[in-house]
């Protein structure tokens, strides 16, 4: 069941100050609060769910590889000045831009706004997964939160969402 307590979370608990006109800062602040309330206070204590960082780690790995390739190219070019380093440079530049492409695809199609994933261990080998994702369009004030539950045994997905203006979460 979707915990309705999310609606009434009180931001003044931590007295967070954010720039309300900065869309991404607002979204991040609300995402953090959702995670704090639902995961630390509710899901973890009552149901003992474990947070899973696989998605975030995937993004970190792709970025790490891209930066690593760039640093390698820099180092190689420093040790062997330009005309000799040409083939390595071609390889590094194309690899870097391919990594950028993979990162964009990953963020847009695999992550899709998901910011928290919890795994509910069920005793048997099949785990159920809770996913929370959110969308906030660029100059829009409607914050859309989607909570999905993927059952481990039947692999079915149940979703519920609510859409509210961000003004409800902030005291201006």
């Amino acid at each position: 069941m979707v915990p309705k307590e999310k609606d009434t979370k009180d931001k003044d608990e931590k007295n967070l100050k954010i720039n309300k006109w900065d869309g991404s800062a607002v979204k991040n602040a609300i995402d953090d609060a959702v995670k704090e309330v639902s995961i630390s206070l509710y899901l973890q204590k009552k149901y003992n769910y474990v947070e899973n960082f696989a998605l975030m780690d995937g993004r970190l790995v792709i970025c790490g590889v891209a930066v690593g390739v760039a640093m390698f190219a820099l180092l190689w070019d420093y040790l062997y000045p330009f005309p000799q380093s040409r083939p390595i440079l071609i390889f590094c530049v194309t690899t870097y831009f391919i990594m950028m492409g993979i990162l964009t695809l990953y963020t847009n199609y695999k992550e899709k706004g998901i910011f928290a994933v919890c795994i509910q261990k069920d005793g048997s080998k099949k785990d159920s997964i809770w996913e929370a994702s959110s969308f906030l369009a660029k100059y829009d004030d409607k914050y859309n939160l989607v909570l999905a539950y993927i059952d481990g045994k039947t692999k079915q997905k149940r979703e519920t969402s609510f859409k509210k203006s961000v003004a409800n979460f902030c005291r201006c």
Partner: protein, 179 residues
Amino acid sequence: MELVNLFDDVKRMNKRQFLYQMLSFGMIVSSALMIWKGLMVVTGSESPIVVVLSGSMEPAFHRGDLLFLTNYPEEPVRVGEIVVFKVEGRDIPIVHRVLKLHEKNNGTIKFLTKGDNNSVDDRGLYAPGQLWLTKRDVVGRARGFLPYVGMVTILMNEYPKFKYAVLACLGFYVLIHRE
């Protein structure tokens, strides 16, 4: 914007998000680096974009113009072309025109340059004892230019504190602001 608010964002980040901020910064730096290296490969020159530093090529190029260079081995240097070269032992590229050229059958060349606005040729600028330039000294041949854009680079080189201040502010902002 109060300074305290900037650090609030950072304090709220956990380890992973902080690592992601550092990587985002790294990616911006890497993107610039990769574009520069890509340009180097495409044009074949070790410095595909240079800034004209002196007025020795007026009225063709003025101080602060940005030049695009290429350095393809199939296109040999010819008299009358504007080349950018580096004298051995000195780091500053010089943009002048080719005055005289000697070429052997196997393709080795030696040439003499002079700035349009100078009254003497460049022999005074070459290394002691050097009378001619060779293909090795060439950084590239000028292919196109943008006026005035390079003034920023000249300013940053003459006032290095300004450059460090700008870079520090940019880096700070990227690290603190969450995407």
